[in-house]
Symmetry: D2
Subunit: 291 residues, 4 copies
């Protein structure tokens, strides 16, 4: 897989296709998109190719990567090659609610998510048994109470970061993790941290959004999966969906329906990220090539 992104330029499609053809690689799928809302307009492409017949003489993948790097320099192109044989490693961060945790563990085990889950991290101990059911390590990393709040948060984040690094994690999924990360943590893990939160029409910011949506009499509730940034719930949106509500739905009913929504929306976003189908544009929109 190859994810170029560059200022729009004639010839880049041809040059890449020609290069891969020259190495006897077979292009299985190719998606492209030009974002015309940026000046200069920016070109995005995802190429899924098969290199099993890679030409003798040209040797190996290292040579191919060097050739792509050369071409990339010419077109001022950002790029990345992901190999399907290198399974991504995903950490799940949870608090007390188990619906997203169960959902991702089940999907991973069924083969639906092409990744490994080396660790579940939580600020509470409640969900350790769920990780245990699936044989996944569980790290309870709460706040230390013997030091001040700021220091406790720093220590906790440092501990989380350490676990992530030790587990060699590529992707962090906040599966109903009810802590807000510092700007520093968000920046360090930018583009690889996915969060899920409920959304409403109209939006209700602040506390008790379900109660306020209920008072307002909304007929729809939604959920949004996005890349986490330090600005709360403002990161690039990967996926959204909604479910219908009537006047009969209590706040508890809305929360219940919201759970199903959160599971589905988060699972889709994770799947697309794991399959290298999500790109973030310089202005913070996502390009999602759905499978």
């Amino acid at each position: 897989m190859d994810m170029p992104q560059c200022p729009d330029a004639k010839g880049v499609v041809a040059a890449l296709a020609q290069l891969l053809f020259g190495f006897n690689c077979n292009i299985l799928q190719s998606d492209q998109f030009s974002d015309e809302t940026i000046a200069p307009s920016r070109f995005f492409q995802r190429i899924h190719f098969d290199f099993k017949d890679i030409s003798v003489g040209t040797g190996n993948l290292a040579v191919l990567e060097t050739a792509v790097a050369d071409l990339a320099k010419r077109y001022q192109m950002d790029w990345k090659i992901s190999y399907r044989t290198q399974r991504k490693r995903m950490a799940l961060l949870v608090s007390k609610m188990d619906h997203c945790l169960f959902d991702l563990l089940i999907r991973q085990r069924s083969g639906e998510l092409h990744c490994d889950i080396p660790v579940v991290i939580s600020n509470h101990s409640d969900l350790g048994h769920v990780a245990g059911m699936f044989g996944v390590d569980f790290e309870h990393l709460g706040f230390r109470r013997d030091i001040d709040k700021v220091a406790a948060k720093q220590q906790q984040e440092a501990a989380i970061q350490r676990v992530l690094e030790e587990a060699n994690v590529d992707l962090i999924v906040l599966a109903r993790y009810m802590q807000i990360f510092s700007e520093e943590f968000c920046e360090k893990n930018w583009g690889r941290t996915i969060n899920i939160h409920h959304s409403f029409l109209p939006a209700f910011e602040g506390a008790k959004p379900y109660h306020r949506a209920h008072e307002r009499g909304v007929k729809i509730i939604g959920a949004t999966a996005h890349y986490a940034t330090s600005e709360l719930d403002a990161g690039p949106i990967i996926e959204q969906d909604i479910t219908r509500i009537t006047h009969r739905d209590s706040v508890q009913d809305m929360v219940r329906k919201g759970r199903d929504l959160e599971r589905l929306v988060l699972a889709r976003a994770v799947r697309w990220h794991v399959n290298d189908r999500v790109l973030v544009t310089p202005t913070g929109r996502t390009v999602v090539w759905q499978d």
Copy 2:
């Protein structure tokens, strides 16, 4: 049809059913709802009954209405009887966009909306020919330019109110009418003015919402039909729906998809109102008994 609403009380269901049975009326459908979020909790009911066999001796509908009024007093109940033979009269207010106008005219003519449309009112002259296609009167009531803004707005609203009264209108539908009404106008027409507007997850208030939703990279756009209040787009919500968006959709595509959404959502809200299926609770939520 009978739309009682009263503080929740044992016996009200029985008393109403007994009363109608006593008059030999047949209850065809009955929906009820208790709003527990208000204290004391409030009871809402919609009874659809057939009075073709109304008992001799009890005489006529006037006697029935008197009996209901007596019962209502006992239970501190608000109530209303609508007769299917009395078709509601609906005025359509439009500006320059014709999609909702066409949609409602076509649905009315096909018999889908059980109401009459005596008049289309606009602050522009552009859509006169559409009203003409369907043989509906068209009133162009723009602003006078020879007086100051405040006076011009007052004069225009007074002119609209006059047309509404002359046409004996029961229901005012703002079918993409791009003017904001004064508090006075909204209050005078409270509970009988339906508006449609686009909605987003998250919400984008202020100017150019489609542009801002596009910049934000939303994956969903929505539309909301609600009763108009003087606070912009804050009235009781009757219906909402959404449509999916991808990174490929330009602002123009979003506007196009939004049009289909607005037509469907507005048509549903109008239909339910015309069929007396919408009640507003004291806290501004709606009870919508969908057909």
Copy 3:
């Protein structure tokens, strides 16, 4: 809860409401429906009432039930009272696929399904560990290979029936159970056995439906939850839903998307049944009073 169903008759609504009022019961919710497609038209009602203030003197629930029985006789009414304190007991029947099994176990444990799950029964041993994760008994009841097919099937069904009876089961959910039951078994468990199967537009009967739907290039796949009858997939429909498909979806993708659909549709149907919200009409349609 009270589920009367009788030939449509004036006065039945009033009589029931009056009776409950006489016992000082509070009607919390009442839904009714008249099926006009049957002659004579048939009346269905669901009344949710609270009897905590049941009048002294009238004594107890037995007296109330007797009074309802008397009234029922007068109106030729079928009826049933369910008490929320008597939790239903649900058996899950599975084969090798675990997605519906996991889903129902998780929902039950989270309190979303107001019932108990005393046993999981399977014709294979594969999913025993899943039942074990949740501390639920697992019965592996395969075919005996030392006797002929017909006898083996009879023996297996008898064994299943025995387990159901020993576990005092009210509801049987075929959560991707890949065996066809005999007419006898279906009749014995009529109205309390829920099945889930995939559905297509158009329908593809017979083997390998996903392959055939893929060949046909459908843009939608569906799932249907219904009460099981001996005629395959022809029982009264409780719930249906669909998901979108594109030309890019392989058969495997369709199966994966179908799994999410099956989980959601089956869970909704089970929930409505557990909450006594589903009635079957004499002509085999369902009345579903959604919560």
Copy 4:
């Protein structure tokens, strides 16, 4: 626009991209798909390119087309170039129902459909005034009653074909046209005739499908837009969608909800066809590159 389709072959992506680059054309969008279910697997591509800077020396579009034709021969590739300046011409065939007719006329006039509508053809005279409202020619081509049925049908189809040819039509839309065309007519207009029909889960073939779906108690009704073939409703599916139904919906309600569905599904299919976004594979599936 360029729509190649050929046996899957390494190098075809590169060769086409290189050719267009050589002519100084800018590829705005490119979609591709390999159908692996056919042997040998087949490759489909849609390239949207801009030729305003087409290189001097190479001269003109004729030279470009010749070059593409040469390349196509090498790869056994079917291809077609459509020019956005050449608006397609669409004929609408209708009977007595006007909802799809109105819908397409309104969308065309609003600029949403990039095509012209030179003529509306009908086997009845009822909808002439609708065509008239939009200034479109209306041809009433009924059956002659003075000759036998087979001859009458032949004469009618011949008359329709003549009108289509005189109006220089590219696309025929059966917008609720209630006649079945002969095999001969279907073959002559293959790949350019779009039909809309209702669909159900499960499917109900034969007469009165809404009645039968109602009897069966379905919870969903659908609509399918497809290319017409002589086998009724069996042609390649372009788009499908559904709407929800409850036990309360009468047959008339289902028909009403079905109308909204038919309008939306047909409009999407027509739009994608007009924008050259639909390809039919050799096995009769469609590749739809949604915009």
